[in-house]
Each structure stands twice: as structure tokens, then as C-alpha cells.
Symmetry: D4
Subunit: 209 residues, 8 copies
């Protein structure tokens, strides 16, 4: 594996036996495994075989083992989400970042319509080395946060919203057009991608530092 | 005129003599006149005939007289703009609102990437009966402001930006999807429409109060 | 709460226990509660606990108490809808405006293809301080109504229609491009947003008048 | 020529000598000629050779002769346009319909924002066998007119407008989604197509009647 | 009714009792009734009450009586459809045109990929006073047919196809951009609109001829 | 060069000296050179240095030498274009195919609105081993031709047209959705790509035959 | 049949008896039959009648007989697919190419994110006369492969992906914009079209060689 | 300044005196200054006043001083660009990263159509702590590079290309949909944003390491 990281199994769009077979194969080869968009049914099958497997339903992640021991995770990544409906994507980001070796902090329900809630958590957020913002609708959270922190922000647009949100398009375009520098963007609903990239950034220090 | 207001001349897309003729006709009929998207050349022609005409180049508005005496304008409308490039649209909104009888306040350069600048002006903004927000790119200003004031917000997306801003589309979709209630939106770059609507709202009090 | 208004619960996309818990929490804290996009099942659960709760199925709104006593509502808001299929959105707007303290008038089935029906109701509509127009397909109702009344029009595009209506896009673009001034627009199917904004405008008089 | 009609020369996108050569060739072959989107320069060249050529600058049409003698034109086509900026397209439609043998009536500046102006002309419009509506922005004129007349309406969306008008897209989608039956639509700015189709419909009577 | 025609009931998006009540009301008032997008279940309910009702499942039309006696229908409308999947829309057009008083001819499965099949039916098609073309995917049928007949063509894009057909968008844009004159277009899948417009054109002769 | 072919210089978007330098460099290295989208000015510079250079203005191609001797070109490629405005793209395809070693045939002005013109040339077209169709607007030519020949069709949508043609989008979507099999599509206005691919297909025979 | 090939039955969107009837009719007429997008249920019905029928579930193809004897297939077509989710479309392409007489090679799971896997199979791929690339998401596989082989590449974008993949649009646009020459593109998910076109190209040799 | 960095002047869309005034003001306040999208004329004006100013025409950046001494820049950022036309954006990224304190490496002309050129530079690229990929058209470079390196990739889509590239949209969607993890994306043509974000990531080490 050239990039130094194990592959991750994107379970959606695979038949349940297919997904199971791949995860089992990797585990039997001694690798830690991360499955995303995993169904409860898949989790149950895997649990029968690997009691150490952990399923987190909200983010639909299923892990067997981890790349780093939880105690040895280093560097804090803050995941800042606008509202309740953004939680599943935020959770996917959190579990991904942890799996690859980062510590995480979850700040929820701090959408910009009630900006005092965001300010109330600002000192916590400023402890992080990377901030992931998760928001649908107009996605304004990314701009506001990036203006308040001095570290890289990874923005995840979500498909939360209706009408002119066009399945996440409004948030995506907004985040790409953001007036604050220090933001880069991943695909709509791609919590995994954000967690992975944030961990890469965070782990720089470890490798080069 | 059923709606109780004089017509406004949208000068763009009209030949200069056409625009001049319409404005002269209205003025000769004793009406105050507002021309939008007026060129300097048109302004000079009109000025020769009506020395009382006022041309504001930044917003490209040209007025001859006004619906209300400046001293008698009532009720404050705040026009809050994100950045320097949004100024022309903000000015169009300001002059329109004034022409129809509102007092105005202009708060510029308070984009959400530096949100402390917005907070520094918040008490002033809260004096207004209606707030117009003018912003391009991700248009996040509308959501943030609407969450901070208790009066109606009229949001004007602008075509400022490039790439994924798609000529104002990102700001438009963002403002329509805004997570804060109390926002309604006008067309991209439509400072006139925002000023007109804000004045209508502001003048409610006068008519019904 | 900075804006002086209680929060509203958007029930769609929340699990039923989640929505219930939030509404119960607010009610127990002594607040009046408005839930939008509420299912019948949620309404039944809430009703068991709060017999004073009112569910209006057509608009899918669920209220427990109200911000103002129905007798004390002031200022008329007219909700003018094009056709039968626009009724759910119109009802959401009506119930929202009432909840926050406005009186309302509902004018239905006055789409512009049979414009005499609209004219037949014009005097009634002209009693209102704010007019909400609700229409899908080409959304022409907003332009026509705004040309006939002297008060602010809040336009709600709906996703009614098929083919080139593109889920409300044709109505949305039409309303934003409307040739009549005095219109501002909310998101597709956002009856709540229109009712909220119309109430804000209407209540101006009360606060400042 | 299978369809019984001479070809029409679309001059835009052709070099001036190319356009001239085609028109001269057709005329020398004894045919009446209609050129659309013709420049003044082309018109002058043609006029030198064919003094009977007629150039109408507003609609940019250039004709040499006509399919029918003006006195023998039959059946009235009404071209109803929303505003001043729609005039060029309306004129293209008028001249095309006349060239192919129809009588025409031009009703201008009757956009739906001031619907009383449309009503003032309604009896005239009702004399027509076919009505062409020409409008940009939200294109609501087509729906309103189709609801008021009992004959086919051909709707021409124009690229007039800015922002959310998206170069005629809002008018196009609106007209296609129109809630009134009896409308069919041609391409954005295609005055020629509307005039041609309206004439075909009008001339039915002559051929079959 | 200003336009001289009874209203038509668009049954989709109405609850079954709603649709039934409207149809019954109209019939009881002595009017012939046309319901489009009618379900089998609605048809059965109506049939119990009005044995003369006719349901055509393929086009989902439900009629009770007719505006003209079948024997007295006049003037032929040809409905030319590209493929099997376009049949439901073609049938909606056919039944609508007949209901309002036109005779019809149905030519199916003559898509342009096998153009000899179209040529084999050309003489039949040329008997018609109006031609309706029904096609999805690239919608080329409209251009080809319009080049072969001397009467107006009403083009109906359908949502048949996948991928780049984008739910009828490719056919819609193609028909609007068609290089042959004499085409006007209705909404995607709007067989009713095409049948109605074609009948209006066809009936011209009767009224004015 | 892995693919066995020399590189081609896309001159647009390069400064004239840049383009010149690249072409000179290649030629000096003994390679035949093909420049596309070349300006007359560039052609003149190159001609001063390489008198054997050939500039074809209509297609804006500039060649110095050729991969195969004109006499040794083999296998016929037919380039079939809808109208005069499609000629530049057709010429780019023709010159590209010839440069790489194919014989070509150019059939112009056979748009589907006058399909007899296409049929008149069908026997010629059927001599080709590959057919390139070049058309804007609705792009129907590709479907019709593919239904008439037994060889691969490469379809080039062009940006010819206005309004709903959306700069070639209508033709592109139409060609991709085409109901006839045996079509594959290149980018809008990409005459070069079509000529290159058609030559690859044609030359198969030579390499493997 | 002008094009020398039997028709293929696109089973989706046809009722099962309809599809069955067509296939039976063709088979009874002595033709080999290929059905695409065939359901298991249809396959079972056909199998009862024609035991020689072959159903391949992954690609949803159903064949009865074949145009050429498997032993007589000539010329290799490589189908190169990016990932597991692209397999169904790849299989449709494989079975189509075989049915019409080509030999095939299937290379799976060689997406560009792990480009060494593609290189490991490059020599095999280079045996082919035509290469079909099947990929969703960004569709980069087409560009990379076309840069590595000297034969025509047919690119099939798939609807695999989410968010900004927009149902295959990102892959489609990417493949059309590809920076490598020698690529032409078929519709999103159109494995059939790619297999058919690749076979046409491959079979050139046989006919002309 | 909350984020610890000086502001950058985006010169486009500002009048030349405006841009000059801002830059002079910042410099007089003792700050290093970076202007992007600066014209040659602006550069000359600034140079007259500040001889230490440096203008790089290709990337249109204008700097007066620098945040860090060139000798003290730390950590390598590789900017990898697909082709000549992407150079201006790549240069904007390079100069931005340097200005804020990073060392840089520029790898040009390594588009995926000739992937051996990319492989030839791979060892160099692998020295970097962050890689910026700059590409238009299909933007495949980002996916390929991210699959080959173990550090974060910042992808910049460019507006290079025509037709289906839609001004950078194809590259943007492709990069967002990329099948390789470890990529995040900035706005179309936003070299500044990429350079800024890459520097933030790179400097992590310094601050936290
Ligand atoms: N800047 C503007 N943007 C949008 N609408 C405008 C603007 N200025 C004026 N209008 C509207 O355009 C109408 C006049 O249009 P016209 O008759 O073309 O001059 C006025 O009544 C206003 O409603
Ligand atoms: N203004 C116009 N818009 C659209 N189509 C036109 C227009 N004028 C002429 N045409 C059509 O274009 C054809 C001529 O195209 P061309 O051969 O390019 O001159 C005519 O036969 C008409 O069908
Ligand atoms: N999977 C497919 N995708 C696109 N076109 C197909 C497919 N399968 C068959 N076709 C085409 O559809 C035609 C049959 O369409 P139909 O008459 O509706 O069965 C065939 O002649 C093929 O050209
Ligand atoms: N080329 C660029 N593209 C996008 N954003 C930029 C660029 N250059 C500067 N900026 C941002 O624009 C801000 C300055 O904008 P302004 O106040 O309009 O000059 C800076 O703080 C940067 O965040
Ligand atoms: Mg920051
Ligand atoms: Mg508020
Ligand atoms: Mg009004
Ligand atoms: Mg009518
Ligand atoms: Mg015709
Ligand atoms: Mg063929
Ligand atoms: Mg190649
Ligand atoms: Mg990597």
C-alpha cells in the first residue's frame, strides 16, 4: 500500500455478503478495518465473528480494531456541526479521524443563526490543530469559523435542507466561495473524506515534527 | 398608479435618448424621478435640463427631486454590506430607500470572515426597522445578521466572486437556504428591489401606525 | 434568545422521539411551541401529554399554546394561493403567522390562468398589511398581485408542477425575476419562512408604531 | 421545397458577403427573401442592388419582396410584448408573420406588473386568430393572456433581465410550466420562430377552410 | 368560463375523494368532464356513478361524456410517437384532442434511428392539420417531422431515457433548439397540453373558416 | 511517445511566441506538426520559416508536413455537417483526420430539417469506414445518420445556436441520449478530437488487418 | 434492417409480458436476441421456453443465441472498470460486445487512486483493439488509459458516487473534457452502447480488412 | 487580526487607485503586503514608491516584503500543474505559499494523458509536506497524485478547457468526487486559497511541532 494507510470499505452499494467478505478478508490479514455507511445488519454479522468490532449507528461506521491505540492518539481535531441533522456526517468524520490516530472534540448545534452558541465554545475549538465544519443549507458556518481560528478548516457540505439547498449544492457552492481563507472543501456528505484529510494534516507533525 | 408610487426608470438596455425622454416626461409631469443603472453621460444630459438632478456614480442612481423631503424621512433602514465590491449594489439600495422616504445607515466591509467587525457595529444596526444585507460569494452575512436582529432582513445576493460563485448563484442559493428565519431575498444585484421593499416595510408604520 | 422569539421545531428529518423530546422540553419550560412538518403520529403522542395541542394536518403544523392570545392578534396578513396543490404550504404560512400574533385571511385557487377569480377577491386582499403569495409552476401570481397592492409581498415558490417546473425552480426563478417591485422571496415550499417574515413586518407597527 | 415555404436567411454568424450572396441568389431566382438578425451594413449593401428591399432596424429584419401582397394578407396575429426591451424580438415576430401573409397587431408595454394596461387592450387582442406573447424575466404574461383568450398562444421567452433571469431561462421555464392551457413555446429570443408558427396556424384556415 | 372550454381535472396530487368530488360536481352541473393522470381506483369509483365514463389506462385519462359527439369531430390531428415508452404521453394527447372535438391518427414507433419506418407512414401523417410529435431522449423526431410537413408541429418532450436525458431535459432543449421552423413546444410529458393546443389550432377553421 | 503519435499543439490560450516556439521546436526535431485553433498571425510567422506550412483558415488548422504522404492516405472518413455555421468545426475534423493518414469526404448543409438533402448524399456517405457528424442546436443529425449507416459514428456537438442551445449543451445531451446505437460523442466543438478518434478507428485496419 | 444488426430489447420500462412477447417474437423469427436491463423474473419466463437462453444477473443481460458462434469471435475488446460498483455496467458492455461477435477481456478494480493496479494489467490491456473504460465519480480512468494505449477508447461514465457526482454528471463532463485524445463517450451507465460501438470498431477489420 | 496573518489585497474589481491606496496604507503601517490579480499598471505605480516590491506577471502577484525571510522558509510545498494554461493559477499558489513562509517546488506539464511525465517527477513530489494539484478539464491529476503520496493534497480546479468543461465545473466536480482520499478542494482558479491553506498545513509543524 503506497500511501501507508489501510483501505477503507465503503459499504453502501455493495451487497451485504460482499461487504462482509471484504472486511473479514482484511481482518484475517491482520489489518484494522474501517467500514463506512455500514448497515446494522452488516454490523451484527461482523460482531458474531469479531466481538471486538464496534458499530456506531449514528455515523454508520463499523470498526474492527484501530490503526492506533486510543491512548496513543495525538493532536486534537474539532468537528463543529451546525445542527442535529448534520450529526450523522459529523459522526462519520469523528470516527474516521479517531480510527487513523487523532483525538477529537465534537461541538454540535452551533449554526450561525444563533452565533452566540458558537462563541460560547470558541476557546474549546481553538485547542484543535484542524477544524472540520459540517453544515448544510447555506453552509455559512465554514466562513465564520475560518475567520475565528488560525488553523486549517476542512468544510463538509451536507445534503440537509430542501428546495434551493438542492441536495447540498447551496452549501457546497457557498463553502467553495467562502470569503475567508484557510478553508478547503470535500464532497457533499463526505464525513469520511474530511476526517481522513484532517487526520493527515494533524499527523504531519508526528511524521515530520 | 394603483400602487401609490411613481415608476422608476431602469436605464440599462435603453438607448440614452429613450431613457432621457422618459425621465424628462415624468419630471415635466411634476413627478419626482428615480433612474437606476444610469450612465454618467445620461446624468450629464439630465443635469443640463434639471440642475436639481443628483447623480450618485457609485450606485449609478440618478434622481430628480424626491418623493419626500429629506428632512421628513422616517424610520431607519440599515444597509449592511460584506465588502468593497458590494458597494455599488448597496448604494443602489440606499438611494432607493431614501428616495421613497426612509432614513438610511450604511455599514460597509463587515463580511463574516472577520466577524468582530460586524459585532463592532451591531448596536448601530439594531436601531433599524429593516436591515438590508448585501453580499456575494457565500452570502453568509444574511444568516448571521438575521440571527442577531429582531427585524425583517432583506437579503441581496451580488454577483461578486468567481468560479463556484457562478455570477451570484452561490450567494442566492445560500440566502434562500439560510438557517435563520426572518430573511427574504431579492434578485442577484437587485439593490433597487431591496431598497424598495425595505421602504415599503418601514413605511407600514406611517400608513397603519 | 436574542431575537425575542421562541425557536420553532422543524420535525422532518428528526426521529419521532427526538422531535417529541424537544417539544416537551420547551413546553415544560413554559414556552409556547410550534412544530412544522409534523407527522400525525407525532401529533398523537404530543396530544396525549398536552391536550391543548392543536394539529392541523393539511399544513402539518403542531402547536402547543401560542405566543399571543388568538383574540389579541393584530394586523391582517393575506395568504393568496394559486391552486389546490399549494394548500399545504399556504397552511404552513397561515398557522405560523397566527402563532406569532397576526390575524390571517386565506384566499385560495386564484391562479393567474383565471385572473377574474383573483380580481373577485381583490378588495379583501387589499385589507392586508402584508400579502403572501403561494404558487408553483410559473409563479406568475406574485408579479400580478404585487402590481395590484401597495404593501410588501412575500412570495413562496412551491414544488408543485412537473417537467420544466424542476421541483419549484421555475417558480423560484420567476419570482426572483418578477417585473413588479415590492416582492421578496423565500425558499421553495417554505411556508414557515414566509409566515414568520410576514409577521415580523406586520408586528413592526406594534413595536415601533 | 417540401414545406411550401421559401427558406429564411439567418444572417448572424455568417460573414456579410456570405449572407449577401445567399440573399442575392434567392432573389435572382425570383423568390421573395427574408433575412433575420441582419446588420445595417448588410441592409445597405442589399439596398444598393434591390431598391425594393426593406430594412427594419428594431427587429433587424431585411426583406426583399414578400410572399403575399400586403393587401392580401389575411387573419390577424396579435403580438403582445411586456416591455420596451422586448421590442426587438416582438418586431422580428411581426415582420416574419407579415412576410408569410398574415396581418398583425402590436400591443406593447403591457407587462403583468401593471395589469390594467393589459386589460385596456384586451378587446383588440381578442380580434386575433393567434396571439404571440413576448416577455422576459418571469414570463408571466403568457399565462395571463392565455387565460383571457380562446385562441392558441405562442409564447416567446426573451433574454431580458439579469441575475436569476439567467439569460431567458426563468421566462422559458415559466412559460413551459404555465398553468393555463393553450400555450406552446419557442426558443428564447426566437421571434422568427413564433411569427412563422403563428402564420402557419393562421393560414390553416386559408388552406383547409 | 371566459375561454369557452370546460376545465380539466389534473388528478395527480389530489386525494382520490378530492378528485372524485370535483369530477362529480362538474358532471352533475351537466358538463362533460376530462380527468388526466387518473388512477384505476378513481376510474372505478367514477364508473359506479357514471356508467358512461370511459377510462383509458395507457394514457390514464378518464372522461365522462365529451364536448363533441364522436361523429361530429372534425379535422385530423396526427400524434407521432418515437417509441413504446412514449405511448402513455401520446395517449394522453390523443384522448385530449378527441375530447375537445378533433379526429386523431396515432403513428407509433417511428423514432429517427429507423427513419424508414417514419417515411412509410408519411402520406398518412400529411393528411393531418396539426402534427404532435412525442419523443424522449434526443427528441430529434420533432425536427425531422417538421421538415417533412407543411402544418404546425406541437412537440412534446418526454422523460423517457436515462443518464444525460436528465428526465426529459435533453429532449426539451433539443426541441426548443430545433433547426426546422414550424415547431412549438409544451412541457415535458405534457400530452394534455399538446392535445389541447393542437385542437385549438385545428378548430380555428371551424370558428373562423 | 507511448501512443505512437506526435503531439498536437492547441494554440488558443497560448501566447503567439509560445505557440510558435513549440511548433518550431517540434519541426526542427523532424516531426510533422499540427496546430489547431491557430490564428492567421501565427500562420504567417510560421510560413516565413517553413514555406511548406499549410494554413486552413476556416478550420484554423496549421500543419507543417504530415504524418503520411497524401497519396498514401487510406480508408475514407466522411464528415457530415448540418449547416454553414458548423463548417469551422467540420474543417478541424477533416484536417486532423487527413494529417494522421485518412482520406476524407466532406458533406455539408444536410441538417435534418431538410432530410432529402441528406438522403441525396447517402450513397457517398456509405463509402466511409467511419462517419463524423457535426451539428449544433438539437444535434439530431447524429441519430438519423447512425440509423442509416453500419459503421461507427463519432458525434461532435457544436456551440451553434442560441437560447436553449446553451452553448452546445442541447446538442451534447441529445447526442449522448441518441436512440440509435453506434454513436459515441466528443466534447462540444471538438473537431480535433473527432478527427483523431475517427482516424484511430480507421487505421485499425492497417495495423491489425 | 439497414444497419445489418438485429435490434436489441431494452427491457426496463416495458411490462414483463411486453418484453417477453418481443423477445419471443424475434426468436421465433429465427433471430438471436439480446435483452438488456432484464429482470430475473423475465429471465425465468424466457428460460422456460428457450432453454438455450442465458441470463447474466450482474449485468442484467439476457441472450437467446448469439450473432456469432463463441468460437468464431474475433478481435479483443478490453473492458476496464474502476471499482466494484461499476461492475454491472461493465458486464452489460462485455455481454453486448460478445453477442455481436467480439472476444473480451475484463479488468476490474483498477481505479486511478491506486494506479499501480492499472499498471500491473497494462500489457494485457494493450492486446485489445478497442478499450472500454467504465468509471463513476471523477471518471479519470478514461484519460489515464487513453494516454497509455494506442487504440480507440470508449468511455462509459457511471452513476456511481454521491454528492457532487450528481448521478454520473461529474464523470460524464470529465470524460468529455479529457485531456488525452482518442476518447469518445457514451451516455451515463450505457454499457450497452459502449459494447455495441466497440464491437463496430473491432469488426471493421473483418469487413474491410 | 485574530488569525495571526496580514490581510491580502484582491486587486481585481477594485479601481487602481483604490488598490494602490490599500497596499500603501498597509505597507506604511509596517506590514508586508501581498496583492493578487494585480495588473502591470498597478505594479508600476507601487514600484515607484516601494522599490523592494516584486511583481510576478505570470501569476499576477505583487508583493512588498514578505512575512518571513526567504532563507527562513520551512517545509516544502509542491505545486503540480497539468499544463501550460494552468501556469498562472499555479504561480499564484506558489507566490502565496512563499509569502507566508513555505518553501516551494514547481512541477509543470504533468497532465495525466502522459502519465510517465508525472512518474518521472514523483520522487521530487514526495519530498513535500503538502501537494497542491492544479488542473482544468477533467481534473484527474488530483486523484492520481493523491493515490501516490501520503500527504494532504489541495486540489485547485482551473477554468482551462472549453465546451463541457463549463468554465472549470468539470474539474471542480471531478476533484470533489475523487476516488482517492486525502484531497480537499478550493474554488475554481483559486491559486491563492490553495497556497494559503497549504502553508497553514505546512506551518502546523512549526507552531505545534
Ligand atoms: N435596478 C433595477 N433592478 C430591477 N428592477 C428595476 C431597477 N430599476 C427599476 N426597476 C423596475 O423596473 C421598472 C421600470 O422598468 P422600465 O419600464 O423598463 O424602465 C420600474 O418600475 C421598477 O419596478
Ligand atoms: N431568427 C431566427 N431564429 C431561429 N431560426 C431562424 C431565424 N431566422 C431563420 N431561422 C431558421 O434558420 C434557417 C436558415 O438557417 P441558415 O441556413 O443558417 O441561414 C431558416 O430556414 C429558418 O428556419
Ligand atoms: N441498455 C441500453 N441502453 C441504451 N440503449 C439501449 C439499451 N439496450 C438497448 N438499447 C437500444 O434501445 C433499442 C431498443 O429500444 P426499445 O425499442 O425501446 O426496446 C435498441 O435497438 C438499442 O439501440
Ligand atoms: N486571488 C484570490 N482569490 C480568492 N480570494 C483572495 C484572493 N486574493 C485575496 N483573497 C482574499 O480576499 C481578501 C481580501 O479581499 P478584499 O478586502 O476585497 O481585498 C483577503 O483577505 C483574502 O482572504
Ligand atoms: Mg482562519
Ligand atoms: Mg432575526
Ligand atoms: Mg405592489
Ligand atoms: Mg386560452
Ligand atoms: Mg414544416
Ligand atoms: Mg448505425
Ligand atoms: Mg491513446
Ligand atoms: Mg494520498
Amino acid at each position: 500500500r503506497r500511501t501507508g494507510y489501510p483501505e477503507v470499505v465503503y459499504c453502501k452499494g455493495k451487497r451485504i455478503e460482499q461487504a462482509e467478505a471484504i472486511m473479514v478478508g482484511m481482518r484475517d490479514a491482520g489489518l484494522p478495518v474501517l467500514g463506512t455507511r455500514a448497515s446494522r445488519e452488516l454490523a451484527e454479522r461482523i460482531a458474531r465473528r469479531f466481538p471486538e468490532a464496534v458499530y456506531e449507528e449514528e455515523g454508520a461506521t463499523l470498526t474492527i480494531g484501530s490503526l492506533t491505540d486510543p491512548d496513543e492518539r495525538e493532536g486534537l481535531i474539532a468537528v463543529v456541526a451546525a445542527g442535529t441533522s448534520d450529526r450523522p456526517i459529523a459522526c462519520e468524520a469523528l470516527r474516521t479521524a479517531e480510527f487513523f490516530g487523532s483525538r477529537t472534540l465534537f461541538i454540535n448545534d452551533v449554526g450561525v443563526a444563533g452565533i452566540h452558541r458558537l462563541f460560547a465554545r470558541l476557546e474549546e475549538i481553538r485547542q484543535a490543530r484542524v477544524v472540520i465544519t459540517v453544515a448544510g443549507m447555506e453552509g455559512a458556518l465554514a466562513s465564520v469559523v475560518a475567520g475565528l481560528v488560525a488553523v486549517p478548516v476542512i468544510a463538509v457540505p451536507t445534503s440537509v435542507g430542501y428546495g434551493a439547498s438542492f441536495g447540498g449544492l447551496s452549501a457546497l457552492l457557498g463553502m467553495l466561495s467562502a470569503c475567508a481563507p484557510g478553508i478547503s472543501v470535500v464532497n457533499i456528505d463526505n464525513g469520511f473524506g474530511a476526517g481522513y484529510q484532517a487526520n493527515l494534516i494533524n499527523r504531519q507533525k508526528v511524521k515530520h515534527g
